[in-house]
Amino acid sequence: MAEYCVETTELTKNYGKLVAVDHVSFKVRNGEIFGFLGPNGAGKTTTIKMLTTLLKPASGSALVLGFDVASEGARIRPRIGVVQQPLSYEMAVNVEENLNLYGFLWGVPKKERVERIELLLDKFGLKDVRKTKPQELSMGQQRRVQVAREFMHDCELMFLDEPTIGLDPQARRVTLDFVREKVENGTTVFFTTHIMEEAEYICDRIAIINKGQILALDTIDTVKRKFGGLSVIHLRVDNSKELINLKLEKLRGVERIVYPQPEDEFLKVYVKNANQVLSQIIDIVTSSGLHVEELEVKEPSLDDVFIQLTNSKEVGPNE
């Protein structure tokens, strides 16, 4: 089995003069949850449409499960699953029949369909509305039907295009946990969202895309470190006036220090990597006879990174 489930090279798609996806290159490893993050209109859905063989790339190439999306779509589609961003369901049949019919479309045997329907209705909280037609449900319930439906069949790679839109926090958590469960059983997930909290909860690696270009690509911690600015160590001791004598600003890795003020009794140490400096600071403070009363490390959030990157006009690494 190849190491990568998805490999794109200079993948590009334009609609007339508008370049929706602009020379994008990335790789998704087997068995990981790869977050594809970006604001609305960044090119996430267009990328998914190309990877699911719905759209042909204008230039560049993409391999999905080892097959070319432009010429080998028929070999890719039976092995993937897709939850699209727009709501999608069969209007004429009830929730249970929606799941059953979708499983039938994918050739799932009847016995297996029956078992999966019960499991999914239970997991996604749809048991009470199993005999109701989707158009009579709330948007959140319709979305749950749509997401649950995709788990009626097995797939090696699942594309989830903002699958939690319209879901309440509980349903969102259930969905994300179920996705994670699937990944533990061997499915790879390509997950798009603009909700950073979700990405932090579920993704192994992320790419941040804006205006069709990838601005950052790595694990969440590394992206935060690379693009998130400085971490801040907040420290309160019993005798804060003594801190100034410790010369903490001379420590390697310390960028800036703000000493306690009458209105704010915390020492703030700005560092690139808190893990490298924290133990040294504690050692120096305690060996000087001071007693640490409170300590907190504030890492830059993914939200900060996302906003900073997507607001910036400069384009970062396109790995």
Partner: protein
């Protein structure tokens, strides 16, 4: 099971079966055409001569009304594509283990099946009139051929229209505007062999596939074997296949 068969089952289950109330409503029209209009017109058109035989006007009318059911059924079933697009099922299916070709074929075949189901129900409605008729094996071939080719033509036509038209409202408006001329410029209501029919109406009717499907069904039921029957069958077959090819080509261009 074959992907096409699974798609066809889905169309029948989720598409056509959902319009069962519409199908039931559609069956009111053959009842009215045959048993109200047919008998009312019979009071001043008592009989007509076809294939050297004299038949009552109601009996003349019944095959045309049966074929017309195919046209009505196809018009409703053509809306299936709209529903699929609106609920993103079109793209969902194309991202699954299916091809566009299988998708369109399933649509055309399901529309044909619906058309034939409606025609069969119209047959049942007209059965009191048709009871005394004997149908030969050749006649049966004409009857089935008429229903298959008529369904193929109207199914493909409505599908092609649904590809090009931008909204469901426009689709319905176009069908409403189109169906009436098709009905009245055909041999459904009049015997085109009658020399009193204005030449313009006769010429326009001869361009209408409904005329040929109706004549073919009449040939099967009433043994109306005109010298032009084979030509009519050939024209209907060419028209139906042409529209099917056009709709298939058009469908390939539908944006996902």
């Amino acid at each position: 099971m074959n992907s096409f068969v699974r798609l066809l089952y889905r169309d029948l289950k989720a598409g056509i079966w959902s319009t069962k109330s519409m199908i039931a409503m559609q069956l009111v029209s053959p009842l009215l055409y045959i048993f109200v209009a047919g008998f009312a017109y019979s009071s001043f058109i008592s009989s007509t001569t076809i294939g050297g035989r004299t038949v009552s006007y109601v009996l003349f009318l019944a095959p045309g009304i049966i074929v017309m059911q195919i046209m009505f059924a196809a018009s409703i079933a053509g809306a299936m594509l709209w529903i699929d697009k609106r609920l993103a099922m079109f793209t969902q299916i194309l991202m699954g283990p299916f091809s566009r070709w299988q998708y369109i074929l399933s649509k055309v075949v399901s529309i044909m099946l619906q058309g034939m189901l409606n025609a069969f129900l119209a047959f049942l409605i007209a059965s009191p009139l048709l009871a005394g008729l004997s149908v030969s094996p050749l006649g049966l071939i004409y009857i089935i051929g008429s229903l298959v080719l008529g369904s193929l033509f109207f199914g493909s036509l409505t599908l092609a229209i649904s590809v090009y038209v931008k909204s469901n409202e426009s689709f319905n408006a176009i069908l409403n505007v189109m169906l009436s001329p098709l009905m009245f410029l055909s041999s459904v209501f009049y015997n085109l062999q009658n020399t009193q029919i204005p030449l313009v109406i006769r010429d326009l009717s001869l361009a209408n596939p409904l005329t040929y499907a109706t004549d073919m069904l009449r040939a099967g039921l009433l043994k109306d074997y005109t010298p032009y029957l084979f030509l009519e069958i050939a024209v209907l077959a060419i028209e139906s296949l042409s529209v099917f090819v056009i709709s298939t080509i058009a469908f390939r261009r539908v944006k996902a």
